[in-house]
Each structure stands twice: as C-alpha cells, then as structure tokens.
Amino acid sequence: MAWSSAALTADEVTYAAANKPILVGIQALESPQIARWDADGDASGGGDISATGFPARWSYDRRTGKRTKPNAGAATQYLVYQLNASPDDVDCAFIQDHNFGTIGALTVTLEIADVATFTGGTFQTLATWTPGTSNNRLASLSLKHTGSVALRYSGLSYVRIKTTGGSHTPEIGEVWLGRRRQLKHKPNEPYADLANHFIGSQRLFETKSGLPAVSVRHRGRRVLDARVNPSDTTYHTAVRSWFRDTNWGTRAFVWVEDPAAAPASYNLVRLDQPDLYFPLISGTAEREFTIKALEQGPDFLDPELNP
C-alpha cells in the first residue's frame, strides 16, 4: 500500500488556528502487523529487541504508566510499526510518558515509508521534536513531509519513532497517531477550560488531638465538563465520528484544548459514561452534546507542566 497525503480542510485549519478544541478518538497504531524495537529500524529483518517484560504493545494501548523500552542502549533507537491492513487516516501525533528529557539532548522523529526498510522516495519524516531536558508530553498537529501546511495521511504502512543522541535507552508509555475531529466553537459558558477544574483523591487520618496524616492517591486531575452546540452538519458529523472513533465512548481519547496556542497541552481523557446524547435543540440544525470526562492517570497534564 502506498501512502498519500492531503491538506486538511479549510475549516480544520481555520478553527485549529483559532484554538477551537480538537477531539482525537482514533489511535492508528492499534492492531498493528508489527510493533517492535528494532536495532536498525528496518522492519524487513532482524527481530524485536524490546526489553523482556517491556513489550512494544504498551506504546499504543491508550494508557500511560507502562513504558516500553529496548533491551540495550544505543545512539539511535527505533520503535517500528507496520500498521494494520486498513489503516486509519493520520493527521496528528502525540508522545507521552517518556524519559527523553532524563536522557537529554535527543532528537525524536516520526518517520513513515511504504517499505519495511524505510528507504526510497516514500521514506519521509513527518515530525521532529527536540525535548531537551523535558519529559513533558510531545505533540504535533501539523504533520507534513513537505511544504508548510499540515497534511492528513492515508494508507500508511510503515511508521517508526527514531531517537538519536548519545547511547541511550528510551522509554515510551504512549505513541498516539490520530485523526482529528475539529470543533468550531469553544464549549458554552460556564466552562472551566484548561487548568481551571481539577480533582484529587486523598485519605485522611486524624489523631484525637487533631494531628492529620494525609495519603494522597492522586492530584491535579483535570475534569472536562464541556457543553457544545454545533449548528451545521459538518460538525454534527465530526461529533458522531469522534464518538465512533472511541468505540462508542468506551476508549480513551485526546482532548486538545488550545491547538494553536499549546498543542502539547492536551489531556488524555475518558468519558464518565460511554454515552452520547446529541439532540436537536433548536430548529433543524442546532444540536447540543455534553462531554463529561476525567483525565486518565497516572500522568496528569497540570502536575506535569507544574511539578
């Protein structure tokens, strides 16, 4: 299969630039034909060099906390995938729960090819990151192998994450290649946007004299409570598609609050209940739906950005 690319729609470009939220329910790496750490990045030969007990499948399970890693250090490391035979379109990428900053001075690239050897004209780099000393999550909403505008890729076969630096052993909790669903508006007010609605969980013990002992289970977990009123069919379709992308609300998804201002400040969230209620509320065009979701642990955005 040969990959192809196309520009995003004008609305997608426009409203992303206007910081309207993006929903990403598709994780294109799921059910891959190949997923492995590979010594030379060539999926046609060699074998999996994943460290025992740290399989590459942990990198596309929609969860962080379990990191995959290769079994030895090297100056260049490859996490290689061959996507399933009917790959989803891809127009954004996210990498979360990694140790790139701890290693330091790494260059991280997202590469694609039509051939397992990652050679020839179809071998392209879609995104490059230089995290420096930061372990914060990485994001690219503007994948492109050429030009200056963001592209959407179809028919991807081979994908790899390449890390280059000194001898190192990268660890990655999640690599997410997705297909965005762009909203036209910010959620209706009142709306607690990024960094304005958190919950935590703690257990308190107090002695008779009132001395407390607090065990913190988690803190800084974002609560997403967004009510949106799309009023044209394009966005009605986007909402329904997003819901299907999440296996009808049963799987985690990415919520990008401010695509232009802070694309890497996204939340990996999960719906409280797997339901979508999307009724007409005015005339024949305006519908309303409410997303009630909780950020998924153990890696919460705000504590990550503000340790």
């Binding site: 007990g53 942990w58 013990f205």
Partner: protein
C-alpha cells in the same frame, strides 16, 4: 519483632500529604517481574497494579497462634499476560513492598511476602483490557498446606521447629529468620531462651517399651510447630520479609513506644477481662492409643507395668475467689490443654543404685534419688546427653533457675535443681523400622539419672514415699505462664494510628497514655502502669490508618494450689474431664445424693452409691464401694469429682484435717484403732445443692420482685405451709394490714341436728 524502618521511608510517612506506592514483585526462579500501582520518580516499573489487599495479621493471645491473612493482588492483564503465558506461576514468590512516589527503591519497606496459590484472569470483552487476580498464601499458610512426618528424640522444641523448617520442609535459608545471618532465633542456648533451654520433647518409638509417639500420619507442619510453640509460650510468625521467625512472650520486654492522643484517634475498650481462666489442666499420657502402657519400671529390660494417665492441675486460688458468683466462695474456670510431645511416661525411682532392681520406695524425706528407665532420657534437662559421659551444654541442664518438676504416683510434686547421668555405662538404644525396609538405631540414651537439690512437697502437696515419677516440668511451666497472665483475664483495646507506626509488629509491647481508660485499679492509663501487647494489626488504606488490637501484657503473682496426679491403674482418671467440654466453669461442688460411708468390719468400710456434681461435671459412684482404712488414724474420705473415685487420706489421730483439692469433696472422717473402725463422722456440712437456702439472705427477694400472683394457690402443695412451720408470733398484727385478708371465712362445726340451710358458715369481719 519491631521492624526497622529506614529514615527516608519514615520521613515520607510523616509528611503532610504523602503519596504511597505499592511495588509488587513476582519471582520465578531467577527472574523477577516488578509492577507498581503509582508512577514513581526514582525508578520506572510498569504502573499495572490495580489493587493490593491490605495486610492483616492477628494472634490468639491464649494459644499464641499467629495468622497472617493471604494477599490478593490484581494486576493489569496487559502487563502480566506474557509472564503467565511463559511461566507456571503457582508457587512463585510474590513480594509486596511499600514506599512513596519519590522514594528510592532501596528505601521501600517489605509489606508482605508469600507464594502465589492461584491466578484468576478476569478479562474484559477486549483482550488485554482486563486484569489478573492473584491469590497468595503467607508462608505460615504454606506451612499449613505442607504435611510432614517424623520422629525426634530428646530434642529442644526449637531444635524440632528448625528441623521441620529446614530439613522436613527444606525451606531455603533465606526464608528462615537468622539462618543466613547466623542469628539465634532457633538456638535454644540463646539468651532469650535461658529460662526454657532445659525443655525436652520426644516423639519416637520406644519399641521395647510399647511407646511410640512417632508422627506417622502426614501432619501439617504448622500444626506440629504450633504444638511445640505452645510448650514455650511462644509463636512462630512470619515477618514482612516472609521469613519465618520465632519469639516467646516475655513480660519483662521493654515497650517500643508510648501512644497517646497525638498518636491514636480513639481508644475502644473491647474487654476488661477477656480469656479469664484460673485453672490449667494439662493432660498427658493420653489414653487414646497404646501409649497408655507407658510405665517403664526397673529399667533393665523389665516389661512395662501399669497404664498411666496423668493430669497436672494448677489452680489460681486468688482468681477463683475473686471471681465467684453471688453466694459462692469460688468460681473455677478451666483451661484444658495437652501435648503429645511430653509426658511419654513414668520411670521408677530408687533411693540408690543398690536398690535398682528392688521394689523399694523413696522415703518421704529423701532429697536425692535415682531415676531408672529409658524414658528418663525424655525428661527435661537431658538434652544432648548422648555421649558416653553424659556431658551436656550448660543451658541444657537442670539448674536452680531451670528446675525439674516430678510428680509421684501419690500426687506429690518434687522440685529438683540437679539432674545428672548416674551411670554412664547404662544406656539404651532406640531402634525402629525405617522407611527403606531396614532398621535404624538411635542412641545410646542414658537410662539412669541422679536427682538432687530436691525440695519435697511442692505447691502444697504432701510428701510421701514413692516408687514412680513422671516429669511435669513443661506442664508446670505452661501452667505458670498461663495463670500469671490469664488469672484475672486480659484487658483488650482497639486503637488506630497513622501509617508512621507501621514498624510495630504483632507481639511488640506498647505503652499508653489515655486518661479516660477505665478498669480495675485503673482510673486512666499511663505508660508507667504497664504494657500492652499487639495482637492484631490491620492496614486500612481507605481510612489511611492502621488498626490495632492490644492485649494487656501485665502478669500476676497468683497463689497456687495443685491437684495433679497420675493414675497407674488407669481405670477412671479424668474420664469426665476427658469427655467434657473444652473449657468449663464450676459453679459449686456438692453432693447430690448417697455417698455415705459406713462400717463393714475391721478396717473395712463401704461407700454407698450416689452422685456429686460441680458445674457441668456430674460424678457417679454407681455401686457401693469398699474402702480400706489405715489403722490408728483419722481417715479422711474424699470423693474426687473428676476421677469418680473415693480417696482416703489418713493422718494421725487428732491432727488437723488435710485440705481437699478443688475437685474433691470430704465425705467422712473415719477413726480407727489398731484393728477396727471405732467412729464414723459422715460430714454433714457438705453442700448438697448447687445453691442452698442459706444463700438466700434477708430480703433476698423483695416484694417488688414478686409480681401479682407470682405464687398462686395451685403452686402451694397441700400442707406446703404447716402450722409447725410458722413460728409462734411469726405473723404479728402489724404484719397483716387491715383489709389485707378481706372477709374471713371461719369454719364452724357442722351442726348435726337442726341444721338450717347454708348455716354451716357464718361471715364475720376481720379485726
């Protein structure tokens, strides 16, 4: 048992707002897989632990048996799937450690260690999206699952425990506390065991003497160990590292910390006097198998004689008095116990070597004598005496601090401070059929032992000549330990603390400062008042606390009385006790009927049939029984409620009466001269009812306690109150209020003649 917590862990636990992490490690062979339930900053393991069942452990104060709950650990399917596919995990080691998100791995503390017993995949509808639940057993429970057999001769209980763990169970050294570090946990010569280092147990065939306590049936290792631990008042426990360790209760041990209102949230008093008992009845030489034929006599190959059964009974008479029910003088609450590891049987006692083969007794005043018989090699103080000279480690020997207690066939308890091999050349081997079709010989064991440093008539028993003794050293030690602590019951409290008290363990002592505490002689609790033993520890993560149950660790100094005896005839001893309830309470001993002593002829008398009772024990003399009296004596005839036998204690005429044991009733005093009975005083003040009328004192039943019609006319039998029962002036005028009786019917003589209709009665007003 206190854990040693590293400073970094403790510092985190005392922070305001700590973030806990459980680290679960599964080890199979040389491979270990690690998972956490929380992101950590100092190391990186998969965050895949969904839940860890909180630790809970508890100890039965009386039996000192420790139970550590199993552990349930739930791990993410996707994280453990490959491990399960490639490995058989049943039996693999599972270790849980506890720490905090910013704590280095080395500073994590051990929380629980055991073995995986089962794994239960609980998948969701999508592969790898479910979880796997692991059910794990603590090492104690592993020992309960593993059965063993074996024979041990002349061993200290700790030696046997260690043998079971290291040889029979073949546990690696890393799982036995102290083994890999040269520790002294199981060394009977260690300082911690100096008071009990002389104790000896045996379970082996003494085939020539019809004695075999070999553990032939596969028996859970933990059951055997618990039996041994009971003899030492100790516990086998498993520490958080999963090591099997041992500790004895030591009331003199120091408190590890004082808890007060800054440490605990509230104090709940569970009981002021839990587990109260004031009598310990230790049965030995049980009649359940052929070991009842266990008297080894003159020692040089002679056959056994008699069928001995023994019972060492120790009473805390202070407690029995203090806890009597209303109107009673005492209340006996019995704790019954037994052990197959001790009391193999009795041996003969002779005054000297010259008398070894003669049936001569040891006099009532002798302070040294010789024990004769193979079974002497199973007595306390004989450990490691196998070499030719019988030399032993110092701690194995009897001493003033570790005395030997012997019980004679007449119930006298003898204390000795020295037991040495009498004749090194006289020894015996123990031969048994081994597992491979041949025979194995153990030995030689010395069969002649010198007893000296003797104190006769211990614990209020009477010195009498004797020919046979059994060893009751362990029985006395166990009874002493139990009665010191349980005579007044044990106060128990429940408290909760924060996580920073995690290092406290079952068996540790804690002091308390709690002004509101209330108990006998305790108006408030202070650290100086005494110590509490931790008997339950439970981590309750949902409340961020540790729940504790503490038992009072103070000990009393009881006043003892003994009624121990062995029965060389074995007909009736303890038949009732043996079949009775496990622990019982005695309300009052009393004679129900019969049991009258009469003269037959000469020095022969008869005890009539009858019944006596004490609480739940009912004792019967089914038929008249002949009794022989001693000449020129006052013969005190007792009825033993437990043995259902009559006993005669003869004293010189005119001397004071001997005391009855708690389970004996004095029936009669029979005076004799040289050839015949000349007087019988059937004692009349023996209680004849469990509760008699004299216990109903003035106004015992107040008028308000009698409901209207409480006593109806029909309840009063004809002539229930006769005229003679009403003393003159018993009913005085002021005692009968006006109108109390209402109309009075006055019987008039029937008119025989000229009688008018209904004229035989007339009506008058009272007063």
């Amino acid at each position: 048992m206190t854990l040693t917590l590293n400073a970094n862990w403790l510092e985190r636990a005392q922070r305001d707002g700590y973030e806990e992490v459980f680290l679960v490690s599964i080890t199979k062979g040389a491979t270990t897989w690690d998972f956490t339930d929380q992101r950590t900053t100092q190391f990186s393991y998969p965050v895949a632990v969904h839940s860890v069942t909180p630790l809970a452990a508890r100890m039965d104060v009386k039996t000192r048996r420790l139970e550590v709950d199993g552990m349930t650990v739930v791990i993410d399917d996707d994280a453990i799937r490959d491990v399960i596919v490639a490995n058989r995990l049943r039996g693999a080691k599972l270790r849980v450690r506890h720490g905090f998100v910013d704590l280095a791995l080395a500073d994590f503390i051990d929380y629980w260690t055991g073995a995986i017993e089962a794994a239960f995949p609980e998948p969701s509808d999508e592969a790898k999206q479910g979880v796997v639940r692991f059910e794990c057993l603590s090492m104690l429970e592993v020992l309960r699952q593993m059965a063993t057999m074996g024979r041990w001769i002349q061993k200290h209980p700790l030696d046997v425990v260690y043998d079971i763990l290291s040889v029979k169970m073949a546990l690696p050294a890393a799982l036995i506390d102290g083994t890999d570090t040269g520790g002294s946990t199981y060394d009977p010569d260690a300082a911690a065991y100096s008071a009990i280092s002389h104790i000896v147990v045996t379970r082996a065939p003494f085939a020539d003497y019809y004695i075999d306590h070999t553990v032939r049936d596969p028996t859970p290792a933990l059951d055997l160990i618990d039996e041994l631990a009971m003899l030492l008042n100790g516990s086998l426990y498993v520490n958080e590292e999963g090591e099997l360790s041992f500790a004895v209760f030591d009331s003199t041990a120091a408190s590890v910390e004082t808890w007060d209102e800054d440490t605990i949230d509230e104090l709940k008093q569970l009981s002021l006097d839990d587990d109260l008992f004031n009598r310990v009845e230790f049965q030995f030489m049980a009649a359940s198998d052929n070991t009842m034929q266990n008297l080894q006599t003159a020692g040089l190959g002679a056959p056994q004689q008699g069928r001995w059964r023994g019972s060492h009974v120790v009473n805390d008479t202070d407690s029995q008095t203090n806890h009597a029910y209303p109107g009673m003088t005492s209340r006996i609450v019995t704790h019954k116990t037994s052990s197959p590891w001790i009391g193999e049987g009795g041996v003969a006692a002779r005054i000297s070597e010259l008398d070894l083969d003669r049936n001569t007794s040891v006099s009532s005043t002798a302070t040294s004598f010789v024990l004769v018989g193979a079974l002497a090699a199973t007595f306390a103080g004989t450990r490691e005496s196998q070499d030719g000279s019988g030399s032993q480690p110092a701690n194995a020997k009897i001493s003033a601090a570790r005395p030997l207690y012997l019980l004679t066939e007449f119930g006298e308890i003898i204390k000795a401070t020295s037991l040495t091999v009498h004749a090194a050349s006289v020894s015996v081997n123990v031969t048994y059929s081994n597992d491979v079709g041949g025979t194995t010989t153990h030995g030689p064991y010395h069969k002649l032992w010198s007893v000296s440093g003797v104190t006769r008539a211990m614990f209020g028993t009477t010195a009498q000549s004797f020919t046979r003794v059994v060893d009751v050293t362990v029985q006395q030690y166990v009874a002493d330990q139990l009665l010191q602590r349980f005579g007044n019951g044990i106060a128990k409290i429940e408290v909760a603390t924060g996580l920073d008290q995690w290092d406290k363990e079952i068996g540790d002592f804690i002091s308390l400062e709690w002004p509101a505490y209330l108990g006998y002689a305790r108006d408030g609790m202070t650290a100086a008042a005494g110590k509490w033993e931790i008997v339950m520890k439970e981590h309750v993560p949902e409340d961020n606390k540790i729940r504790w149950v503490l038992a009072w660790a103070g000990v009393n100094t009881p006043t003892y009385s003994h009624s121990s005896r062995v029965d060389p005839w074995g007909a009736n001893v303890h038949a009732l006790a043996k079949d009775g309830v496990e622990d019982d309470e005695v309300v009052q001993k009393h004679k129900s009927s019969g049991l009258t002593v009469s003269h037959t002829s000469g020095l022969i008398g008869s005890l009539s049939s009858g019944f006596a009772s004490a609480g739940v024990i009912r004792s019967e003399n089914p038929a008249a029984t002949e009794i022989t009296f001693r000449a020129d004596s006052d013969n005190y005839v007792f009825w033993d409620l437990e043995a259902s036998t009559a006993g005669v204690v003869a004293v010189s005429r005119g001397t004071s009466a001997p005391s009855a044991s708690p389970m004996e009733i004095l029936l009669a005093v029979v005076a004799t001269h040289a050839t015949s009975v000349f007087g019988i005083d059937n004692v009349t003040n023996v209680p004849t009812k469990a509760m008699n009328g004299s216990k109903l004192v003035s106004e015992s039943v107040a008028a308000t306690q009698l409901a209207p019609s409480a006593v109806t006319e029909s309840k009063l039998a004809a002539s229930a109150v006769t005229a003679s029962a009403i003393a003159p002036a018993a009913i005085t005028t002021p005692a009968v209020a006006d109108a109390t009786l209402g109309s009075v019917h006055i019987v008039q003589n029937e008119r025989k003649t000229g009688m008018r209709y209904n004229a035989q009665f007339s009506t008058a007003k009272k007063g």
